[in-house]
Structure formats: structure tokens, C-alpha cells
Amino acid sequence: MHGPDERYAVRGDEVAAKSFDGEVVVVHLGTCTYYSASGSGADAWTWIEEGRKLGDVAAAIAERYDIDADRARRDLTPFVARLLEEGLIAPANDDGPLVSSSPSASPSPSIAADTDYSPPELHAYRDMADLLALDPPLPELDRPAWRVAGDDEQG
């Protein structure tokens, strides 16, 4: 595992992320790649984003999902490596703009309580830009509404 005292920061210049309903969606603005993570992956992202040390993140996952701490650390390692590889996070400077790391294992209130554990995973969706270029919709066209007799009025 990356060092338990290491902390990381989301690369805010190139990455945007949002958590909702036990899920996190991340977009790399440079590559237009979307990522999603749920369950322990969403938890891990949230706690890493909060600036917690990796050791604390693993401990929090172990407590939340009632699993062995060693297993939590082992599973967290490839997840963090993947986040680094995708350019979503970077090592945080000691004086970086991070919130103070708390060893509390309490999950963030926005994360739904779901204690079925599976290792944190990051799912990528890399081709949205390519896909739209195949046959781009042209919503900017000033097309007329097509409503004929029998169609309903706008509600």
C-alpha cells in the first residue's frame, strides 16, 4: 500500500467530482473521461478527497464494512494506484489545501449506509466525446416544434 501517512488531493484544475446517494461521479475535464464508483469506492474517494491519510481511509473502510484492516489496506492500494494513473489525484503537499485529517471512521452523512463490502472499484467511460462525434445531435439548430392534430399540448 502507499504509505499510511500519505495524503492525496484531487487535481482540481482538471478534475470535477460529485457524490450523491452512495455514488461518486468524477470527470477528467482534459480527457472528457467519466468515472463512477459506488460502495467502498465512493467512500474511499470521499475520504481521500477530504484529505485523510490513507491509513485512516483504510481504517474507516474496515470499520464501516466490518472487515479486516489488512484486507481494507490491500484493497485500497490498487484503487489509489488507479486514481493516480488516471490523473485524478496527486500527492498532497504538507501545506496543501486540505482539511485536517481525522481518524474518525464515521462515514460522511451523504453516503448511504450499505455494509455489503466489495473492493473499491473505479469504472471508466472513456468514449463519450468519440461517441457523440459519430452522429452528433444538433440541438443548437433552431428546429421547429412538430406538433400535429392529436398531439398533446405542452404540460
Binding site: A17, L131, P139, W146, D152
Partner: protein, 374 residues
């Protein structure tokens, strides 16, 4: 049958997919199916709407992706999950491969219903179908892939051979318009219909007109549609002194066939097409088609019988083919009649509805999924 239809593009916008999707949804509702639509929000359209009694929710798929609005992303995903749970569909039909596809993939946990993906894209061959792409995930996990043409399906199968065992070509159909009067070549009237975008190759139609004017002084060309190419095409027409060209703007989908009935030949010089809806409409209108021989076109235009196909991008060949038809009234009429017959056999609304009904029923009964898994 409860069918949730998810699409980027939908009524009341005009376009091939939009019009097809509206026909599918209202046609199946008229056959007694419980239909519900989730479409992309935008264009000033209301978030909630109905079409002939079918409930429509427009979610911010486009804002979430194009504008990278993650607050909209959460809203769209949450709403799609809620609708899937609330409506509890028997089948989910994805009408487009685009913004909404990713949201469907992310919300698959909200409904166990089998799902159908309709493929319309004409340039799939160069795409990446790795497991971390939307296209790869969609083709790999769809219970059924319904393609608008053989040409498009062949590309999908080449990308992912496993698609072959759970796919079909389901041609788009449309209501039969009234029989048009026989084709008139006096004077020759050419008509181009569609979005004025570079992919349609409409500049080639202007080049062809220029080449034909000396031989057919009364010949005219009209464009029905609009888009970013309009200014360039208008400039091209003016620069060549062609006052026989008219730009009519959009015409309503329910009036396309009556407009085509006033033409001698419908011209489609497209550089690419998945399934050219305009060619189907021309066939139903009993009008010969001169078109470029690109993906899917030959499935609608039978060369020498219902029209003529020419190499894509070849303005001279396009002009020669138009000349051949407008110079021979009997040929033009024969092609028009053959086109109508071809449309009746292959592109009827009823056969399209029956094909989808049959597909949904097989998916719900589990026949297709179990056979695909063997």
C-alpha cells in the same frame, strides 16, 4: 407490455431519430402497450410532457455531459433510477447511443428488465469497444441489439462478434402516405431534404445543378431543411448565378411526402448514412432517388430499379445520374412506382411495430437471453 423508451432525441424536434422514436412510442401505445419516455432535456422543451397520452420526462443528460454539470449528472441519474423503479418496465429500449446510454448503464441496478439498444450510427468501424467505453459496455451488455440497417449491424459485429447472436436488422417504417401522382419531368425539379450539415454533401447537388443547367434550362433545386451549412450553400448558389435554387427551411415531418410528390427526383449526396430516412420517404412518395452509395443506402435505394446510386463525393456522376432520370420520363415513372412497392414491402409502420413487439415478447419470455448465453 410496459416499455420504457430512453433516448437523447425525441419529438417534437425534427430529425430522423426523433421522428422514428415518436412513431415507435405512439404506435406501440396505440397497440395497447404501456409506454413511457425518458428523453434529453433542452431546446426550451418542458421537463414533463405528454405525446398522445404517453408520459415524457426530459432529464438533463445533455447538460451533464456537454456542459460537464455534475449537479445535473446526479439529478439525471437519480431521476432515471426513480423512473425505472416507479414504472417497473418489462423492457427498456434505448433509442440512441449517446448521452442517455451512459446514464442507463449506470442505473442498471434500478431495473432488472431486459434492454434493447437501437444502433443508428454509420461509422462504428473505427470505434473503441474496450470494456471501459460506453460503446463496449453497451454492445456487450445489451440483451438485444437492433440495427437500422444491415450495413450498421455488420460494423457492430465486426467490432464485437458476440453481437451476432443477439441482434437483428429492424428497418424503420412509416405510415403510408396517399399515392402520389406520376412523376413529372417538365420541368425537372430536384429536391434535397435534411439537416444542412457537411455530412449530407449538399454542395454536390449544387455542382450537379450547375452542370445540368445548359441541358435542362428549366431545372430547379430546392433544399428543405436547415443547419450550419445553409449560409455556405446560399453563397455557393449566388456565386454561380443560380437563381433556380430555393432554400425552404424546415418542413414538418408529416408534410415531407406531400412536398416530395412535387419533385421529379430526390437527391441524397450524403457522405455517410446509417439508414437514410429521406430515401424511405422518397420511396413512399413514389419518387426516384439519386444517392451516393454509402453505408445503408443500397438497402433503401435499389440501383436501376428505384433510383440510381453513384460513388460518394462524385459530383459528375451525380449529375449524369440525375440527367439520366430527368431525360426519360418513363424511366422516372417506372422508378417511382418501384420505389413505392419497395417501401410497402420493407418500410411499413405496421411491420416495424410487429418486429418490435415480437422482439420485446421474446426478451421478456427469456428466449433470446437464454439462447444468446448458450
Amino acid at each position: 407490455m410496459r416499455v420504457l423508451f430512453v433516448t437523447d432525441l425525441f419529438w417534437p424536434l425534427i430529425g430522423g431519430i426523433e421522428v422514428w422514436a415518436a412513431r415507435v412510442v405512439t404506435g406501440l401505445a396505440a397497440r395497447g402497450h404501456d409506454m413511457r419516455v425518458v428523453a434529453s432535456r433542452g431546446d426550451g422543451l418542458p421537463e414533463k410532457d405528454t405525446l398522445q397520452g404517453v408520459e415524457i420526462d426530459r432529464l438533463p443528460f445533455r447538460d451533464a455531459i456537454e456542459e460537464r454539470r455534475l449537479d445535473r449528472f446526479g439529478e439525471a441519474l437519480g431521476e432515471l433510477r426513480r423512473i425505472k423503479g416507479e414504472f417497473s418496465p418489462d423492457v427498456i429500449h434505448l433509442g440512441t447511443l449517446g448521452w442517455s446510454t451512459m446514464f442507463h448503464l449506470l442505473s442498471r441496478d434500478a431495473s432488472p428488465a431486459p434492454w434493447v439498444l437501437t444502433l443508428t450510427q454509420q461509422r462504428l468501424a473505427s470505434q473503441n469497444v474496450a470494456g471501459d467505453t460506453v460503446l463496449g459496455r453497451a454492445l456487450d451488455s445489451a440483451d438485444w441489439v437492433s440495427s437500422v440497417s444491415r450495413a450498421v449491424l455488420d460494423q457492430a459485429i465486426e467490432l464485437l462478434p458476440g453481437v451476432a447472436g443477439r441482434s437483428s436488422v429492424d428497418y424503420w417504417g412509416m405510415p403510408a402516405p396517399p399515392e402520389a401522382r406520376p412523376v413529372s419531368c417538365d420541368p425537372p425539379r430536384l429536391l434535397c431534404v435534411g439537416r444542412l450539415v457537411p455530412a449530407k454533401g449538399f454542395d454536390l447537388a449544387i455542382e450537379a445543378l450547375l452542370a445540368l443547367t445548359s441541358r435542362h434550362p428549366e431545372i430547379t433545386l430546392s433544399f428543405a431543411g436547415d443547419g450550419p451549412e445553409r449560409e455556405r450553400l446560399e453563397t455557393m448558389a449566388r456565386a454561380n448565378g443560380l437563381d433556380s435554387i430555393a432554400f425552404e427551411g424546415w418542413i414538418r415531418p408529416d408534410r415531407v411526402c406531400s412536398r416530395m410528390a412535387e419533385a421529379t427526383v430526390v437527391v441524397l449526396p450524403s457522405h455517410q448514412e446509417g439508414l437514410p430516412v429521406v430515401a424511405i420517404e422518397a420511396a413512399w412518395s413514389g419518387r426516384p432517388v439519386v444517392a451516393s452509395d454509402v453505408s445503408g443506402m443500397a438497402e433503401v435505394v435499389s440501383h436501376g430499379e428505384t433510383g440510381l446510386l453513384v460513388p460518394a463525393g462524385d459530383g459528375d456522376a451525380l449529375a449524369r445520374a440525375i440527367d439520366e432520370i430527368v431525360s426519360d420520363r418513363e424511366l422516372a415513372r417506372r422508378m417511382g412506382v418501384a420505389g413505392r412497392r419497395h417501401a410497402t414491402e420493407r418500410f411499413s409502420l405496421e411491420s416495424m411495430m410487429s418486429a418490435y413487439e415480437c422482439l420485446y415478447e421474446r426478451l421478456v419470455s427469456g428466449v433470446e437471453r437464454s439462447s444468446a448465453g448458450q
